[in-house]
Symmetry: C2
Subunit: 408 residues, 2 copies
């Protein structure tokens, strides 16, 4: 007997038939003799509708009211799924964020989980009941409903798994696992049976879109075993991808996967005075404007000024430009150049730590295909380059082959 | 300066434009210098969709889960209306049932209000804020969301008005007041400027559909002044109908209005043994099956048996039949006759108490039109008759004229 948290995303509960399917899958798990808790997202499309209403009334709406409105999406699915489970003879009940309670900080709209009181849920599990918990939502210090931001349901599930001391957290999505790269681009991409938290974190943050970054961070911190599974395969088919400690992966590949992100923008600040503190003058205001800056390169030119180049996500670009234009006098730059016709390609793998030449293989492979590298950044287990967007597929395919990732 | 609770129904908040209109109307009231709290229903159609989902998953769904699902309708509108008010510069915040808290009993789906803690709302009102409260919902003794049943938002508003010691509770609907009868049947129907709680109660319960019976009962018990107003007239137009104590109505009419209900069914239990306890044998099981029995007539025939005739609503008829068939042996009747081709016509007025001949005028008027009366029942301020449904409009018009209610 194991204690398992099962999490289902919006496409898995998009309509009543799919909710019935999810109920059958949960029952299948219960019938194995497991203790099961379920976390669900809103029906696909529901959240978008609710967000659109708030936006239409006021682009700068009160985040506390936004949360009250948007949290209803998950409230509907937990009730419906509990009913569907009961019709199959499974003892189930819904739990809203404030009922658990799942306590968050007061950052409405993008709240972070602070604590989960697991006692009531554990008692429910031990009594043989299936708690069906609303993902994405909690209760803030002000006693009002909070939401965790987009993708927060994965984070809810992992946090809940930690709070009830679950043996595993199964994340059911519309893909059947984590691949060495996007199978739509590389048909010979392989599904990874296991991946380390660190690798998944890098893959998630560069666009693999399978799991939300925050949920992987939390799983790593709390040592929660997470499985990514397809909600459209038969319940017996558990051939997804398991997130585990690096030590659990015996046969490490040098490179675990190739990721890409097209929603990138390159910003170059031209002719910045080359003096101490200028980087802070550029990036301080961007941080204040909640712009996430990714790759950063600084070139020294010979006239006592320098060019700074960095990347942001496309959706952050307008805020980045506004912030930089406001602080133009303080920084003292000549002009701004922006380019959204770029893509970021990353190779990720914990094996890099012990294998030299991984970056060099990347540069040589891209050069062989005539692809120009605009920006380079590296971390302990990742090498990323920025290239022209047109070359995205070509680059991903070439690298996938170069690192020996193609399926036989 | 007055303290006012404004309540808006589902058609008044059916889309974003109407929500903006409601916000403008609330602002108009706030600009008068009043302290204003608002109670809203779900967007028209939203509740039906949510109910349909629960029904589709299981006709016999868990009422606690149903409540969690259905209560989201009001949660969406309070958040949206608070945002709309804020964009007009009105300080507003949403309150869910469990946040107030509005405590109910544990009868999920048809819960009754037990207490409302008004302190937080009063503090909010006195600080110049507009509380926007979700109607129709509360929190039960089990800490879970409850709903008050259809039309419960009116009841929420009246209860809230009592809890915050409001001077008045304004119920905004898609009609502009209470009429002497349905204006679609009698174009010369008149709007009543004032009506007593008792009269409104009788009119509400026989089908005038302006206010839900429970809300009128509560207003009468708590002595809350209630105004019925149109949400589609200009905010300055306050020419609705005021519910007041009978003593406040100086010029009492003998008859205040004529009501009708077509959703009636007549049930006759033939040849019941005429012995003590037989009425209990018939109506006990019906009460256990939650069938509301209305008009009751018993005829004694000469063979030691009797016929019992009574009415129920059309929606209760299947349950009534099932209940009677189950207890056939215990009652010992010969057969059941049911008839849904009937309508109940009622004349209502507190003036009846002091005026003889009101019932006789009714019988004579209907006889003059050749309308046969099948069942008669009377109360202190009401006379009701059951007739063939085809004659509904003819009867209502003739009675409206006979009691001198036609507009000049």
């Amino acid at each position: 007997m194991a204690r398992i948290v099962m999490k289902f995303g919006g496409t898995s509960v998009a309509d009543l038939d799919r909710i019935r399917n999810v109920a059958a899958r949960v029952k299948h798990q219960v019938d194995q003799g497991d203790q099961v808790a379920v976390v669900v997202s809103a029906m696909a499309g529901a959240t978008n509708q609710l967000v659109a209403w708030c936006q239409a009334l006021s682009p700068l709406h009160d985040a506390r009211e936004y949360d009250a409105v948007v949290a209803t999406g998950e409230q509907v699915t937990v009730g419906l799924l509990a009913i569907a489970l009961q019709t199959l003879g499974v003892d189930a009940r819904s739990w809203l964020g404030w009922q658990v309670p799942l306590r968050t900080d007061g950052a409405h709209g993008t709240a972070r989980i602070q604590s989960i009181e697991g006692d009531a849920l554990i008692a429910s599990l031990e009594a043989g009941q299936v708690p069906v918990v609303a993902g994405f939502q909690g209760i803030g210090p002000d006693g009002r409903v909070t939401t965790l931001g987009r993708g927060g349901s994965d984070t809810s599930a992992v946090a809940l798994a930690a709070a009830v001391h679950a043996d595993q957290c199964d994340i059911y999505t519309d893909v059947d696992g984590v691949y060495t790269t996007d199978p739509r681009i590389v048909p010979r991409a392989r599904k990874l049976a296991k991946i380390s938290y660190e690798e998944m974190l890098e893959l998630a943050s560069v666009g693999a879109k399978v799991l939300q970054t925050r949920s992987v961070e939390l799983a790593m911190k709390q040592r929660v075993r997470v499985a990514v599974l397809s909600s459209f395969e038969a319940p017996e088919d558990r051939s997804g991808t398991l997130l585990v400690d690096e030590e659990e992966i015996v046969e490490k590949e040098v490179v675990a996967g190739i990721a890409y992100a097209r929603d990138e923008a390159k910003v170059t600040v031209k002719h910045v005075p080359d003096r101490p503190g200028v980087a802070a003058a550029v990036f301080g205001p961007l941080a204040d404007a909640h712009v996430n800056v990714d790759m950063i390169v600084q070139n020294v030119s010979d006239d006592g000024t320098t060019d700074m180049t960095f990347t942001v996500t496309g959706s952050d670009l307008p805020r980045a430009i506004a912030s930089l234009e406001q602080s133009r006098a303080a920084i003292g730059y000549a002009r701004l150049i922006t380019d959204t016709d770029v893509a970021k390609i990353s190779v990720v793998g914990t094996g890099m730590r012990s294998h030299a030449g991984v970056a060099n293989t990347m540069f040589r492979t891209l050069a062989d295909k005539g692809i120009n590298i605009e920006v380079i950044s590296t971390s302990e287990i990742k090498v990323s380059v920025l290239i022209k967007q047109d070359y995205t597929e070509l680059a991903v395919r070439a690298l996938h082959t170069a690192y020996g990732l193609d399926a036989a």
